[in-house]
Every structure is written in C-alpha cells, then in structure tokens.
C-alpha cells in the first residue's frame, strides 16, 4: 500500500502542512528523486565498471568482495546525505576507537535504515529479510556482496556464513526486530545475530536510529523533512556477555537501545516545549 501525495500532505503533530512545510516537502522530494536517480545511474555504471576491472586485474575474490562492499557503503553514504538540508543526518559515535569486526544491531523504523549503516567506515555486510530479494537489482548486488538472507537459510548455514565473514574481518549489520516498525515503537528482538556474536566472541555494537520513521514512512515513497540522529553506542564486549544466554543478551542490548531512544525522545519533547514557549511570548 502506498501513500498518495494528498495523504502525504498531513504533517505529524500539526495536522495539515503549512505552505512553508509544503514547500520544504516538495523541494526535498523533487531534489532527492531527481538527483538521486541521476547519481544512482552514474554511480552504478562507474562502480560496475570498476568492479569488473578489479575482477579482471586482481582475480582475487576477497579483494573484489571488499571493493564491492565498500562501493555499496559509499553509495549509501551519498544517498543518506542527499536530502540535506531538508532531512539532516547527525552521527554520534560514543566509542570511536572500537576496532572491527563487530556485530552491529540497529532498531528498524524505516526503509532508509538500510543506508544508515553506510556511515560506518568499515567493511560490512547486512543481514537481509526476504523483500530485497524480490527486487532483481538489489538481489544481484546483495549476492555479489555476500549479504546474508536470514529467512532463506537455516540457522546453521547463517552461522557458518556469518562466522566466515567475521573471521575475514568483515562486520555484520543486523536489524533484530526483523521488520520495520514504521513508528517509534521498538519491537522484540530476534536472537540469531546475538548467537553469531557469541559463537565468534566479537563485540556487539548497538546503534540507535532516531527520527527517521517518516523518512520515508512505511508504505510511502515520500520523504518528510526532519532530523535523523544515528548514535553508535558503547559496544558490549565478549567478557561482558560471557556465560549469558542469547535471550538475556538480546534483551540487554534491546534495553540499551530503548533507553537511548527514550532519552532522545524526552530531549526532543523538551526542545519542542521550549520552542513553543518562546513562540508564545
């Protein structure tokens, strides 16, 4: 189900958009979809040629996979910043000196989450749900980058492939809610990626994505102006989860993300209330 432009004309918190909000909304979408399409076409063509060249010259599968994964991340890096200044991304790293590989876990509110992992300057693959495999181009890219389609393989196969990646130094990014919440709600977590971290004794990096539940909203292609804050929290080290059940570990990490999101929501409410007071004076 998609949302029409007329339906998109309602603005969260204030009912109908004002003229200024409409102008920002239209500018954002015209800019993003025009420049984004042009950029995608040029980038995919050039990156595709670069990958083919790497394959022909090096014939080294590992190096080629690295180039492909980084190329996908660079693409995501640009796409996630393209909506500026209407939709801004702020990245806060609470542990910048943490060394990969990690299992990175994020909350999942919007389809734009697929790009936010691109802000991490590391080689990584994503754990996918089924839907990207229904889009031939995404399926092709996911396959050559060896992304993990968790619903299409038994846990043993997921664990073996994930372990191989971690041993190669490649981090694994997962959305343990499984599917987009489409709201500010944080659903319960699935434990597969936490078991993978335990099996390989790697750090778990919780990341909290705040503010993108309408960029775009679930079931809608339109981006809404706003500010997204991506927080890379302090990692959970293997010695901290030693002997802990996967169930307890996933809930501990979920609580860390939930607490951070709650603090950000309180801060945003406080800022909004202060702004309203100033406006009323």
């Amino acid at each position: 189900m998609t949302t029409s432009l007329a339906e998109a004309g309602t603005h969260r918190g204030s009912g109908q958009r004002t003229i200024g909000q409409w102008a920002a909304f239209l500018s954002l979408n015209i800019w993003f979809y025009t420049i984004g399409t042009l950029f995608s076409f040029v980038y995919v063509t050039l990156a595709g040629l670069w990958v083919l060249l790497c394959l022909a010259v090096t014939r080294n599968r590992r190096k080629t996979q690295y180039v492909i994964r980084r190329a996908i991340s660079w693409y995501g890096w640009v796409i996630i910043r393209l909506p500026w200044p209407w939709a801004r991304l702020k990245f806060v790293d609470y542990e910048p000196d943490a060394k990969p590989p990690f299992v990175v876990v994020l909350n999942h509110r919007s389809s734009s989450d697929a790009y936010v992992g691109a802000v991490l300057p590391i080689e990584c693959v994503q754990v996918l749900n089924v839907w990207p495999n229904h889009v031939p181009f995404l399926r092709f890219m996911a396959r050559i980058a060896t992304y993990l389609s968790v619903r299409e393989m038994p846990f043993e196969e997921f664990a073996a492939k994930g372990s191989r990646l971690l041993q190669q130094g490649c981090s694994v990014i997962a959305f343990p809610e499984g599917t987009r919440s489409g709201s500010t709600k944080l659903n319960s977590f699935h434990g597969a990626c936490f078991r993978l971290a335990q099996m390989n004794r790697v750090k778990i990096v919780p990341m909290a994505v705040f503010g993108n539940e309408r960029i775009p909203a679930r079931g809608a292609p339109w981006l809404n102006p706003g500010k997204v804050i991506l927080s890379k929290l302090v990692s959970v080290k293997p010695e901290q989860y030693e002997g802990m059940s996967a169930y307890k570990l996933k809930n501990m990490v979920r609580d860390m993300i939930a607490a951070h999101l709650e603090a950000q929501a309180n801060e945003a409410r406080g800022t909004a209330a202060t702004g309203a007071k100033h406006a009323a004076r």
Binding site: H190, G191, S245, A246, Y247, K248
Partner: protein, 86 residues
C-alpha cells in the same frame, strides 16, 4: 505431579533458562510477543522442557499450536497422561 507442581516446574524452566522475572510468567502471557522468545529460543525451551520432564516433545505436531503459557501448561498436563513425566 499435581497441576500446580507442574505449572511451578514449567515456570522454573523459564526462570532458569531465560532469566525471565517470575511476575511475567502469567497464564495469559504470550510466549513470542509478551516474553520475547524467538524461534531459536523455542528450540532451547523444548530442549530444557525435555530435560526437566524427561519427555520427548520435539516431533509432536501439537507443540506448534502453543501460543501462551496456559497453552503450554495444558499441553504438558495432557501429555502427562500419555507419557510419564519425570
């Protein structure tokens, strides 16, 4: 083993295996939604129940229809008559 003893023993499995606070273990609690277990946790749960009650339930189709703690209690009370629970 009486029904009350069985319910207490099932709750102990959840507390020991998953460290779930006892107050969450109500008959109405849904195993996936309310307690937050996933399919892999259920594999661990089945193994823990088999070990605790010395029964074989892994291949029983009726396990698939269990949604809540009450369903689980009812199922184990039912198989108590079929298999001798330890």
């Amino acid at each position: 083993m009486t029904d009350d003893e069985l319910i207490r023993a099932v709750n102990e499995v959840f507390i020991d295996s998953f460290e779930i606070p006892p107050e969450k273990l109500t008959p109405q609690a849904l195993i996936f939604q309310d307690l937050g277990l996933d399919s892999l946790d259920v594999v661990d749960l089945v193994a823990a129940i088999q070990k605790r009650f010395k029964v074989q339930v892994r291949d029983d189709e009726r396990v698939r229809s269990i949604r809540s703690m009450q369903d689980l209690y009812n199922y184990l009370i039912l198989i108590r008559g079929e298999q001798k629970l330890g």
